[in-house]
Symmetry: C2
Subunit: 408 residues, 2 copies
């Protein structure tokens, strides 16, 4: 009998706690596990022995349901990356000492590619040191959908559903006036445009959706955009644009920084405007029309009431797969989703070598973007649509959704 | 037998179409009405005879349900205000000619206080001209909750629920990291802080909610705010602030404009930063911590999937009341909500003179704000809580909510 430790890392999603719930559910039934710990604030907190006991929670169906619907990492997170062994072998030794001290044989780290790097490093260390009583597995999550080794990432489907739903709602809102207006919506994604692509799903029921969609995989030219908008405004009053926060010009410069030299505040400090604000300002000055910049900001990764049921279910399953794998003595792997049938959308879960995932980034293939560079092709819609299916039944009390609070 | 005309005006809400559905439902059963028209783009479109026939829609239960859940004004909107009779009597004459031409005896205008001004002017004109075969009634809506003559405004409860829910989610998101961070959230309301006050509801289940809440009814001083935040950061990592977009300093200057002189773009054009961005920048420079500005922007008035069921039901009822009143030969009134019992929250619907509503603004009473000026009192929570109760069952298809499209 040994202990299982779970920690979460990287940016929050609305599905990362569903994975945690899946792990708890699978581990609570396993005779090899007698206690389940949560490490608070990721690997950083683990190295400070900030543990909370989740053993009782794991068998509390009602609380697991609330955990399942709580956005953001219930165990907290960190942005801290384990240094290489050469740089800081002490951290590795300390980590293993803590595991030994608390009788922890199994560790599941839920996170993105930085976290998978930590899993890879720890697993490699154990291999080299012939440590054969400690196992570590990664469970993926990221709204950016930029992990390799998995068809898509837990958390992404829910963020995509938020973006598709909200874009459809914004289209309705922007449609009501007859004043010529351009609305530029900034969507998360510094290097990968998957989330911005999801704005195209807002057209599913025949709605117009965004008129222009710019992913960060292609150069973004303000003047080209202005010409397109000018043309569109000849026949319509409202133009809606979806824009990756990370769009760059042809010289590789982020659009979001381009006003910085003049954009200083009253103290002379540089202000960095977002890509949507820069674009909206440019279009206002260039075309003389009303413009508006909207950033989906944290809402796109935190709106749990708008989550995709499919995403939450898959995230739960991945947690279950990760738990069974690590307790079954697998190590240095990441649980992942494989799409078996594109037409009917069926998936299976498998394990991939975490070394193949760590520090890599999966961008949108250029052939999923239209030639004109301002929209996505049908195959992107086909890829995305199954991921936003279904609406979870959220538990409300007093008009507000219930959230779990595992630590102060 | 006569025709009924309905038009919508002012800023969109997620409940304005529920009121339209309520009118259609009530009018479809009335023997005095043989046709129902929708005027596209408010009074502006009415004067251009831009009518669509809603008679069939009024008896289509399925489409009414979709109308009920569609955000923004399904009939379009306008920001156009009817001039006074002295300035432009021709507009009044033209309006009445159009009504006569189309055999329209009943007109319901759904809108805020500008729209109630139009209702008031038209009703007064009819009275003075002894026109006794035309009746006009106002139906209220505004997310700002700033109309007098009604306990609260249709659309407000849903926006309040969005704000409470999203604030609770942001609190969870901001809680995950150990880096000192201040998040400033800008909420709609140029002159009235009701929506910002609704952020306090996010504490209902024992959550921390926003640490500081600043309504536009009280002067907002950046330095006072900075001192509060500095103190809070000594004992916590994340500070969450809710701020009305219309907060002003003690000299009555909007905070949102205070960076304008230096905040120019590459073309020398003035950039106006929002109140949250100005505050976040100030705090970053003053305290040296990470800050983030978030604007709920159009999402707070368009997120129909997060609507308050109570709000939608009341909005529907108000439409029904307005329809019955106008067909019953009432004119120059607005349908309104009266709260009968504060403890159990029961309401009744009544008619108030529209002249008492037009062009007036109901701000948050100062005695609902704490002495320190950075929070609301319990009586505000008691007033708001009944308005966000219940979640509507939204019809989805293919993972996205269904919306109605009444015109191109």
């Amino acid at each position: 009998m040994s202990k299982l430790l779970i920690a979460q890392s990287g940016g929050p999603t609305v599905a990362i706690n569903a994975t945690l719930a899946g792990i708890l559910d699978a581990a609570s039934n396993n005779p090899r596990v007698d206690k389940i710990y949560g490490g608070v604030n990721g690997i950083e907190g683990v190295l400070q022995e900030r543990f909370i006991d989740l053993t009782d929670l794991a068998v509390d169906r009602e609380q697991l349901k609330i955990l399942w619907q709580t956005p953001a990492a219930a165990l907290g997170s960190c942005r801290w990356k384990l240094s290489s062994e050469e740089e800081d072998e002490g951290a590795y030794e300390k980590f293993m000492e803590i595991m030994k001290k608390h009788d922890i044989a199994y560790f599941i780290y839920i996170g993105g590619n930085d976290s998978m790097d930590t899993v890879d490093k720890l697993a490699s260390y154990c291999r080299r040191k012939n440590i054969d009583d400690f196992y570590i597995i990664g469970a993926p999550k990221t709204i950016d959908n930029d992990l390799v080794g998995t068809d898509h990432c837990p958390g992404f489907g829910s963020a995509a559903k938020y973006i598709a739903t909200t874009m459809a709602e914004l289209e309705r809102d922007c449609h009501v006036y007859t004043t010529k207006t351009v609305t530029v919506v900034e969507i998360m994604g510094r290097n990968a445009g998957w989330l911005t692509a999801a704005s195209a799903l807002s057209r599913i029921h025949g709605a117009k959706g965004p008129d222009l969609i710019y992913l960060c995989e292609r150069p973004f030219e303000l003047e080209t955009c202005a010409k397109k908008v000018e043309e569109l405004l000849k026949s319509q009053d409202s133009v809606l644009i979806a824009l990756s926060e990370g769009v760059k010009d042809k010289n590789g410069q982020y659009i979001s920084g381009s006003l910085a030299p003049q954009g200083v505040d009253a103290f002379g400090h540089v202000q960095v405007a977002g890509a949507a604000m820069v674009t909206a300002d440019y279009l206002k000055n260039r075309l003389g029309c009303k413009t508006r910049a909207i950033a989906f900001n944290l809402m796109q990764r935190a709106s749990a009431c708008l989550a995709s049921k499919k995403d939450l279910e898959e995230s739960f399953q991945l947690g279950s797969v990760a738990a069974k794998a690590v307790i079954g003595a697998e190590s240095g792997k990441m649980a992942s989703i494989k799409r078996l049938d594109k037409e009917k959308y069926t998936v299976c879960y498998e394990l991939v070598d975490v070394s193949e995932v760590a520090n890599r980034e999966r961008k949108v293939p250029l052939d999923m973007i239209t030639e004109s560079g301002d929209d996505v092709k049908q195959e992107m819609v086909d890829y995305l649509l199954p991921l936003i299916q279904g609406e979870p039944r959220i538990l409300y009390e007093n008009g507000l959704p219930l959230h779990i609070h595992l630590y102060e």
